[in-house]
Symmetry: C2
Subunit: 153 residues, 2 copies
């Protein structure tokens, strides 16, 4: 019987996995505060200095939710088409969404997602930095970790 989500002591492998998930993610699932239910939606993401950036439309429900309450979480680390999705590593970052400067980070974003040049400069797109407050890493069955913010950098 596999262990069910015990928290393992953080080791260098866990830190390396968390950094890799953060660095490689190009999209994620964002949970924003809602009433009565929180809202989960897909967002584009690029990591920067130990935190995910997200580029979102001001017309979308998730952006309006973040404007009302910046507390959120994002799931990073998407399984491919093969194997049991629950054995694929993923990470949940609880975070506070902060406005980020689009012009300063333009090159960084477009280097990771070149096609975003089509809409990056639209005035109704905003860039947020999701400043992490808590890190839950799940490397698969029995491989749960709770990391610190320093572990991500």
């Amino acid at each position: 019987m596999p262990k069910s989500d015990p928290i393992n002591p953080t080791d260098d492998d866990a830190r390396a996995l968390a950094r890799k998930l953060l660095k490689n993610a190009r999209f994620g699932a964002l949970a924003t505060v809602g009433t009565p239910a929180p809202l989960v939606s897909r967002v584009a993401t690029v990591a920067h200095e130990g935190a995910p950036l997200i580029l979102v439309s001001t017309l979308s429900a998730h952006t309006q939710a973040l404007a009302a309450d910046p507390n959120c979480s994002i799931l990073l680390g998407e399984p491919g088409d093969k194997g049991d999705p629950l054995t694929h590593p993923r990470m949940t970052l609880c975070a506070v969404a902060q406005s980020a400067d689009k012009s300063t980070l333009r090159h960084h974003w477009l280097a990771a997602i070149p096609k975003a040049a089509l809409y990056y400069d639209f005035t109704d797109f905003r860039l947020f930095r999701l400043a992490p407050t808590d890190v839950h890493l799940n490397g698969g069955f029995g491989k749960a970790y709770r990391l610190t913010l320093e572990d991500l950098i």
Copy 2:
């Protein structure tokens, strides 16, 4: 300039897409209520009678969150490895989690996810039906729809 999340009139193509996303999903991103931030995590899912079932461990944070507050949402429709993830169709179902009968739905679940036979019967795994209350379909840029529950069946 692409339209940014306008709500289009629901048509048969949108209904068919929503049903396909629900039927084909084997995992999704579940958002549960949390303080201060909602928690998003990966869950296994199988559709049944117009709603997602999820099989979750009672030891996990999302199951404990659902026990405290059954309001949740789930994102279905995962992009593959190719192309712009934001052009891939996906759907957010806002829902209320209801306990579902594991023994009655055992065959249904295992027919969709045979490998779950390894742990389906563990007493610390619970089955929930996520009874939808609201349906947001996003077929890609400019293809947003708001569907009814009847549209899913």
